[in-house]
């Protein structure tokens, strides 16, 4: 069985945030008003984090794209009182929107702060409404949502492969962020499959994971910058 994971090469990331935008339009992530965003209520399943290092003028900007880590030992899954967030057999941490009671315990438990809450019901402009992705359910108010590694694409890819009577190929299933990245900084595939790019990249000496010491076993690897 595949173990889906991601490797992000920080040397290649330019901080363009195309992954963020692609993710939002793929997953029907609603935009919030500027006032709400200032309150810290913007939703960004994939978010390019920016860290400013050093003092002016010797400053460096560091970019770290941060999707859900899809931990093998996910702290969010353990604490959910209603099993609305779960770890699938293929290693994807999902969220069952119609079951979530909105207690936000998982959001507190996640050390990577990747869980977002729907403070209000989502609103769409007419033009946005016309372009909602029919493969992804729109979330109601009061539930948690998060990056799913675009698992609706996996379903579709599997069906296509089955219809064509062939094995699933690496290129069949790519999340929106990996697909759109102009510098190919984001690789996605089966971590246990040496034929897949991530299968080899994740074993590179540069490969590291966020807060590995917590024992959460994230499946998103980062290739640290050489400089």
């Amino acid at each position: 069985m595949p173990r889906w994971g991601m490797v992000i090469d920080l040397d290649r990331c330019t901080g363009c945030a195309a992954c963020e935008v692609a993710c939002k339009s793929e997953n029907n992530v609603p935009a919030v008003s500027p006032a709400q965003a200032d309150m810290g209520r913007a939703v960004s399943w994939m978010k390019v984090m920016v860290l400013v290092e050093g003092d002016f003028p010797d400053t460096t900007l560091r970019f770290v794209p941060r999707p859900c880590m899809h931990c093998d030992n996910p702290p969010c899954v353990k604490v959910c009182p209603v099993a609305a967030t779960y770890l699938s057999p293929e290693g994807i941490v999902g969220q069952i929107y119609p079951r979530c009671i909105g207690c936000r315990y998982c959001a507190n438990a996640c050390p990577y702060t990747v869980k977002y809450f729907n403070w209000f019901a989502p609103t769409w402009s007419e033009s946005e409404r016309a372009h909602l992705n029919p493969d992804v359910s729109v979330r109601p108010k009061g539930v948690i949502e998060k990056c799913t590694f675009c698992h609706h694409r996996l379903q579709k890819a599997r069906e296509d492969a089955r219809a064509e009577g062939r094995e699933l190929r690496e290129s069949d299933y790519q999340p929106a962020c990996a697909e759109v990245c102009p510098t190919a900084a984001i690789a996605f595939g089966d971590l246990d499959n040496p034929q897949h790019l991530v299968g080899t990249l994740s074993h590179e000496p540069r490969a590291t994971r966020l807060m590995e010491e917590l024992g959460t076993e994230p499946k998103v690897y980062y290739l640290t910058p050489r400089t």
Binding site: L51, I101, G102, R104, N108, W119, M211
Partner: protein, 451 residues
């Protein structure tokens, strides 16, 4: 009412004094009740708005996911340790001075626990899906442990309030001073025969033992909700015992405030005597020292380890944006109660009242200092620290629940004797003779060879 008043006059003195609030109500009571009722209604309106449009009505955000409601949840459930736990411990340890105060304590427990238990429901994004907690119960979630332990504790403490009240309910029924059918139903055929009394006392004895581990489990589990996560300054083994200690501390303070008010309002000075305040004040002193010890241990452990993520939260509390609530908490939980309660001259009703008000405020701030500074300081340094200002909706709901609790407690004093009549009588008739015998049994016989 004239009829009830004349019936009241025929009762023995203890019953007459204690039952007076059940038949006589002053205009002041109505005024205060009306005011509290208005505040509670205001809170309901605020909740309706939040229910209607979503939790966006609060000041919460990402990553500041938990705020006023969770603070109040921990605070109210903490107060609920007033009753059952203190009363059970005093009963089991045969502290004779307990007789006048157990009932008022048990009432606090039962009434406040409901107001505590609704807080996480107010905090839910989807209160309409509450029953999923049973339908899809996931036992490895600490929230489920909480549902179970609060449920058990509420049940046990309600029975523990009701059973020792049976003889008093029978007294009201027999006196016929109020709502005869209601009290006939409540008294459940209790006639105070020696056999019934014997059974009742055995049942109370068993319950007093059962509620202690339940009370300890309730606040331990609430501490664990935080401690089981990997959040800086939450992920700590001290949280279980720390929460239990803090709960009893705030419970004692709440009880003392209730005693001072009841004493004044219902002229119960001869029942809540200075000695009660002196002894309860000593308990408060003990717990202020325990609080200092636990808090010091917690902060020293975080500081000495010096882990980056922990230190961000640590400094946010000690000298950062949360310095004011932090040091006010130290003042209210330690300096004021310690200073007032360490001297006999200030362990008076007035002195304990001031100390208790400080402790209640301080313990609320402690819950604030646990929930908010950790929430706004995520572990990952790339994530920016958040801000949190409670919205008027949150503050209104908070005011509404406080008012609702006090109102319900006031109403309860109009239907139930807030001091146990039969236990006072038992004290006068039985315990007064038992105690010298008990003391004699502690000592060697005089002369030693006599027995």
């Amino acid at each position: 009412m004239g009829d009830a008043a004349s019936k009241l006059r025929d009762l023995p003195e203890d019953a007459r004094v204690i039952l007076r609030p059940l038949v006589e109500t002053t205009w002041r009571f109505y005024a205060v009740a009306g005011l509290l009722g208005a505040v509670a209604l205001w809170g309901l309106v605020a909740y309706y708005l939040q229910f209607h449009s979503g939790l966006g009505r609060t000041g919460l955000n990402q990553p500041e996911y938990w705020g006023i409601y969770i603070i109040d949840f921990v605070f109210f459930i903490g107060i609920s340790h007033a009753g059952t736990l203190i009363s059970a411990i005093l009963r089991i340890s045969k502290a004779e001075w307990r007789r006048a105060i157990t009932r008022s304590a048990e009432f606090i427990t039962v009434l406040v626990i409901g107001f505590g238990a609704i807080q996480p429901i107010i905090d839910l994004g989807r209160p309409d899906r509450l029953l999923n907690v049973f339908k899809h119960a996931q036992l490895r979630s600490p929230l489920l442990w909480d549902v179970i332990s609060i449920g058990l504790y509420f049940t046990a403490s309600t029975i523990y309030l009701y059973l020792p009240m049976l003889p008093d309910l029978a007294i009201i029924r027999d006196a016929g001073i109020k709502a005869p059918r209601f009290y006939r139903w409540l008294a459940a055929g209790y006639r105070d025969t020696p056999e019934q009394r014997n059974r009742l006392e055995r049942a109370i004895g068993i319950l007093a033992i059962v509620v202690i581990p339940l009370a300890v489990s309730v606040h331990t589990v609430i501490g664990w909700i935080f401690a089981m996560t990997l959040r800086p300054m939450w992920h700590s083994t001290i949280f279980g015992p720390y929460f239990v200690m803090g709960a009893i501390y705030s419970g004692i303070a709440a009880l003392l405030i209730a005693m001072v008010v009841l004493r004044r309002a219902y002229r119960l000075e001869e029942y809540f005597r200075p000695v009660h305040f002196d002894y309860m004040g000593r308990l408060l002193l003990l717990f202020s020292l325990l609080w200092l010890y636990f808090t010091f241990a917690e902060y020293l452990t975080a500081f000495y380890g010096g882990e980056h993520a922990e230190m961000r939260t640590f400094w946010a509390k000690v000298s950062g944006p949360f310095a004011v609530p932090f040091w006010t908490m130290v003042l209210c939980c330690c300096v004021i109660p310690l200073g007032l309660m360490c001297r006999g001259a200030t362990r008076t009703p007035r002195g304990t009242l001031y100390a208790s008000i400080a402790v209640v405020i301080g313990m609320w701030l402690e819950r604030f200092n646990i929930v908010v500074p950790t929430s706004v300081n995520p572990r990952w340094e790339f994530e920016q620290a958040a801000r949190y200002f409670p919205s008027w909706v949150e503050l209104s709901i908070m005011a509404g629940t406080f008012a609702g609790f006090i109102l319900l407690y006031m109403v309860a004093t109009k239907f139930f004797p807030i001091i146990s009549i039969w236990e006072i009588r038992e004290g006068r008739e039985v315990a007064k003779h038992e105690v010298p015998e008990r003391v004699a049994s502690y000592l060697p016989p005089d002369p030693i060879g006599a027995a």
